[in-house]
């Protein structure tokens, strides 16, 4: 009897397998990409190159590779294969961006509000983007804890989170936090801080409070672990706001601060030194070209626009040479979109840097390996190397050309965007419509 049941089950599975579309029979994450011009970023271009991907990992790069049974083969002659684009500053795939009611809200976490259904994920994929740093907004001085996502469109939110990335805390300075562009309604009080002085002071105040909080806990732990702990020993009150800041001071979190003008960047770097916390990158950093010495001394990189400027006073000295000049000075630069629209043409934004002094290779690095380094995931992604995760993008022309178009976007060996497939679907839909 038992044998009969298992045979029946096997038969059903076999029939189902036959009925299933071809793609389901292919093992996920197994691909062979053939005849592409590979721009590995970590080395020189490989014309007519092939990349073999097994279980989502790049297994081999070379020529005349053979695909194991069940692996999909992608013919890419005439096309350019690059590492998946990484956007170091976005707000996409979130169901909330700003907890702006208070100037200090480090207790909020973007990982709690991931919206895996945000169409911006698909939009980003159409531009070759595979990974984003999705952040709290800049409405307040200390925002929330950010999250890094892989854009696995269609998968549940927990599958998107990149746990290996640096945990980062959003800070913001300048016009947004002092609310200088906000219309004050009668009866609505002005929020503190309203100046750059206040913004700096409030960060110092909160970090001193966090230090104090840490001391309280240390005292408690010491007493608790002493030979004769007091009988009525009570722990200090848990404060999630200060707990997050304590993690920053313990080095478990990295700061990423929205900053525009030179002075606020210099002062933030001083605060970092004063309190001994780590800064992963400065966001926007429009006046970085004025303080390259200070950035080099602090070893802090920048995540910037290429030329989106003059939309507010503090962006009025944002020059398109910023990214190129800072790169030349040895600063780690990435180009970000900060937009659910610009994200799909981040490669065009990087390409503009060529006009302002970078080579095409250097420009491409700003949206791949440099971005990966700033997010702490350069050991996993950001270049096409054996052993790295197969996050890739295929372009019909050199990705730094204005005439290029993204053809395919791959995450861990799975195709998440395929332009040819979309065109085919459209044709079929049109034919169905025509047939009616």
């Amino acid at each position: 009897m038992k044998v009969v049941i298992s045979r029946t089950i096997l038969f059903i599975i076999f029939v189902l397998a036959l009925l299933a579309p071809e793609s389901y029979l292919l093992a996920a994450g197994n691909l062979l990409i053939k005849n592409a011009t590979i721009l590995p970023v970590s080395g020189p271009p490989i014309p007519g190159g092939e990349v073999l991907i097994i279980d989502g990992i790049i297994k081999q790069i070379g020529k005349n590779l053979s695909a194991p049974a069940g692996a999909r083969v992608i013919e890419a002659s005439g096309k350019y294969l690059i590492p998946g684009i990484i956007d170091t500053h976005t707000h996409l795939a979130l169901s909330g961006t700003n907890e702006g009611t208070d100037a200090i809200t480090p207790e909020v976490r973007m990982a709690d509000v991931i919206n895996a259904d945000d169409p911006a994920i698909f939009t980003a994929l159409t531009g070759g983007v595979t990974m984003v740093h999705t952040m709290h907004g800049s409405a307040n001085v200390i925002g929330g804890v950010n999250v890094v996502l892989k854009l696995k469109w269609g998968q549940p939110s927990e599958k998107l989170v990149v746990k290996e990335a640096f945990p980062t805390l959003k800070f913001a300075l300048g016009e947004n936090v002092k609310q200088s562009n906000r219309v004050l309604l009668p009866g609505r009080p002005q929020r503190y801080p309203a100046t750059r002085m206040g913004a700096n002071a409030i960060i110092r105040r909160e970090l001193l409070r966090a230090k104090d909080y840490m001391t309280q806990w240390e005292r408690y732990e010491k007493l608790k672990n002493s030979k004769n702990p007091p009988r009525n020993l009570l722990p200090p009150r848990k404060d999630l706001r200060l707990e997050t800041l304590a993690d920053l001071l313990r080095g478990k979190l990295y700061a990423r601060t929205h900053a525009y003008v030179a002075t606020e960047m210099v002062e933030f770097l001083r605060l970092a030194k004063e309190f001994g916390f780590k800064v992963a990158a400065l966001e926007h950093a429009w006046e970085a070209y004025k303080i390259t010495d200070e950035l080099l001394a602090a070893g802090v990189g920048i995540s910037v626009f290429i030329d989106s400027w003059a939309y507010k006073m503090e962006a009025a000295e944002g020059i398109a040479y910023n990214a190129a000049y800072c790169t030349r000075r040895g600063i780690l630069v990435s180009i970000n979109s900060d937009s659910s629209e610009r994200v799909r043409r981040l490669f065009n934004e990087a390409g503009k840097a060529v006009k302002y002094g970078l080579t095409q290779d250097e420009a491409l690095k700003m949206i791949t390996i440099n971005a990966a380094r700033q997010l702490g995931v350069d050991h996993l992604v950001g270049s096409i190397e054996v052993g790295k995760q197969a996050d890739l993008a295929l372009f019909d022309q050199h990705p730094m050309s204005a005439y290029t178009r993204c053809e395919m976007t791959i995450i861990e060996g799975d195709v998440y965007f395929d332009r040819q497939q979309i065109l085919k679907n459209r044709e079929e839909a049109a034919a169905r419509k025509g047939g009616n």
């Binding site: 070209y289 939309y311 000295e317 043409r345 204005a402 178009r405």
Partner: protein
């Protein structure tokens, strides 16, 4: 009397004599300067009205490419161009080896000179309050020394239509060259067109958190019937004013600003630029334009590709909005904005690209290149930033291509004009070489000094 008194006073006489002698001396001293400080060749250049760009690859847009040739410029115009051009000796020669000459680009819709820093209202002059503003003219607020103009110029843009925005009737746009010491010196066409903004596909503009929003969007039907009424009112106003001029017994209507300012439109002298978006709205506006017998230009037309044949048949040119946007409707497909220019062009619609911006006006060529990536022919893309806008604006006899007799609006580039990495080496506007320094280069140079001082 008073003047004579002053001159007759001996002190003033002495001063006048002193000034006369000193002035003559200065002239005597200054005269030899050019010879002693400058080379012989350059002094000859000044004497000549001619200038030649030699050994340059020429993309005239109007005709076939010249792999290596000469452009001869006389004063503000192109005198001749070709591969075997005989040029007189002694004129200023610019070596164009390794460079390509293109006609200067025209930005077909911008806010250059009207919006300096978009977030600082004190520097924003493109959006008048209220819904009906046919009386406002972009030229009258144009900041000729805007920091964005030299940046656009350094990317090869030599002229721009500058347009107001907002409301139903936004105001009158202007066509300017990107060179001049005053706003008036920049004028090509003082009033180019009346800008009318019809509701967007997603509905009207909403304010942020209930602040700064416009009134709820009216439908396009309603907006067009409102326009029809205004146009009729203007026609009637003119008729009654004329009748009253002939017959003193007839009542003369009081001055009405809107009717007065709409007169050139209803007479068919001033074109209307319709910012129109959906396929249905486009069809409605085509009908409206035909009924009203007005000259029309379409702007934005995000769903134009769905009714390309109809637009083509109506012969209405289309200015593309910024391609830095998302499709207005998800169902149009992720690439609809990028496909739109190519599909319109294929259907025979005359298209032109625009930056629709001031701070990003320099990106004009990249919008055109984006459309090429999605099917638009390369030469057509180039035409859509040069000769097509010139034709749409009725200035194609003056600019838009490199041809003898046209204004010498020439860009010398080190590569493809629409390519991201291309650098613009020289720009000539009406035969004059313009300064390519701008806020980007000036700030860079200023702060580079810190590094150099070490």
């Amino acid at each position: 009397m008073f003047v004579r008194k002053i001159i007759s006073s001996s002190r003033v006489q002495q001063l006048l004599i002193f000034l006369l002698i000193y002035g003559l001396n200065l002239q005597l001293i200054s005269r030899p300067l050019p010879e002693s400080f400058c080379s012989n060749q350059e002094s000859q250049e000044e004497a000549s009205d001619l200038m030649a760009i030699v050994n340059v690859r020429i993309i005239p847009v109007a005709g076939p490419e010249i792999p290596s040739g000469t452009i001869l410029i006389e004063k503000e115009r192109i005198k001749a161009l070709g591969s075997n051009l005989e040029i007189p000796s002694g004129l200023r020669k610019i070596d164009g080896r390794g460079l390509t000459a293109y006609p200067g680009m025209i930005d077909s819709f911008s806010s250059l000179g009207l919006v300096e820093i978009s977030g600082v209202s004190a520097t924003v002059d493109n959006r008048e309050t209220g819904r009906l503003n046919p009386q406002v003219k972009a030229i009258e607020a144009l900041k000729y020394d805007s920091m964005h103009i030299p940046i656009a110029r350094a990317n090869g843009i030599v002229a721009a239509m500058v347009a107001p925005s907002g409301g139903l009737i936004a105001g009158q746009s202007t066509l300017v060259k990107l060179d001049g010491w005053t706003n008036r010196e920049m004028v090509i066409r003082e009033s180019l067109a009346l800008v009318v903004e019809l509701p967007g596909i997603r509905g009207g503009r909403r304010g942020f958190m209930g602040i700064g929003g416009q009134e709820p969007a009216v439908s396009t039907e309603k907006a067009l019937s409102e326009l029809k009424e205004l146009f009729n009112k203007s026609r009637m106003y003119e008729k009654r004013r004329e009748a009253a001029a002939r017959n003193l017994l007839l009542p003369r209507p009081d001055f009405d600003e809107t009717s007065h300012c709409l007169l050139p439109v209803v007479k068919g002298e001033l074109p209307v630029i319709f910012a129109v978006h959906s396929d249905k709205d486009i069809l409605q506006v085509i009908k409206f334009v035909q009924e009203e017998k007005i000259k029309a230009i379409f702007y934005q037309v995000e769903q134009g590709f769905k009714v390309a044949e109809e637009i083509s048949r109506a012969g209405i040119p289309c200015i593309m909005g910024s391609l830095y946007g998302l499709p207005p409707v998800w169902e149009d497909g992720y690439d609809s904005l990028f496909l739109n220019p190519g599909l319109l062009n294929k259907a025979g619609v005359k298209i032109a690209f625009s930056s629709s911006s001031s701070s990003a006006a320099k990106d004009l060529p990249y919008h055109a290149a984006k459309a090429v990536a999605f099917g638009l022919d390369r030469l057509e893309a180039l035409k859509a930033v040069t000769i097509y806008p010139a034709e749409i604006f009725g200035v194609d006899k003056l600019m838009g291509s490199l041809e003898p007799g046209k204004l010498a609006n020439i860009v010398l580039a080190d590569g493809d004009l629409l390519e991201l990495g291309t650098r613009i080496e020289k720009v000539f506007i009406e035969g004059r070489e313009v300064d390519l320094n701008n806020r980007y280069t000036e700030l860079l140079e200023r702060f580079k000094k810190r590094e150099e001082e070490k």
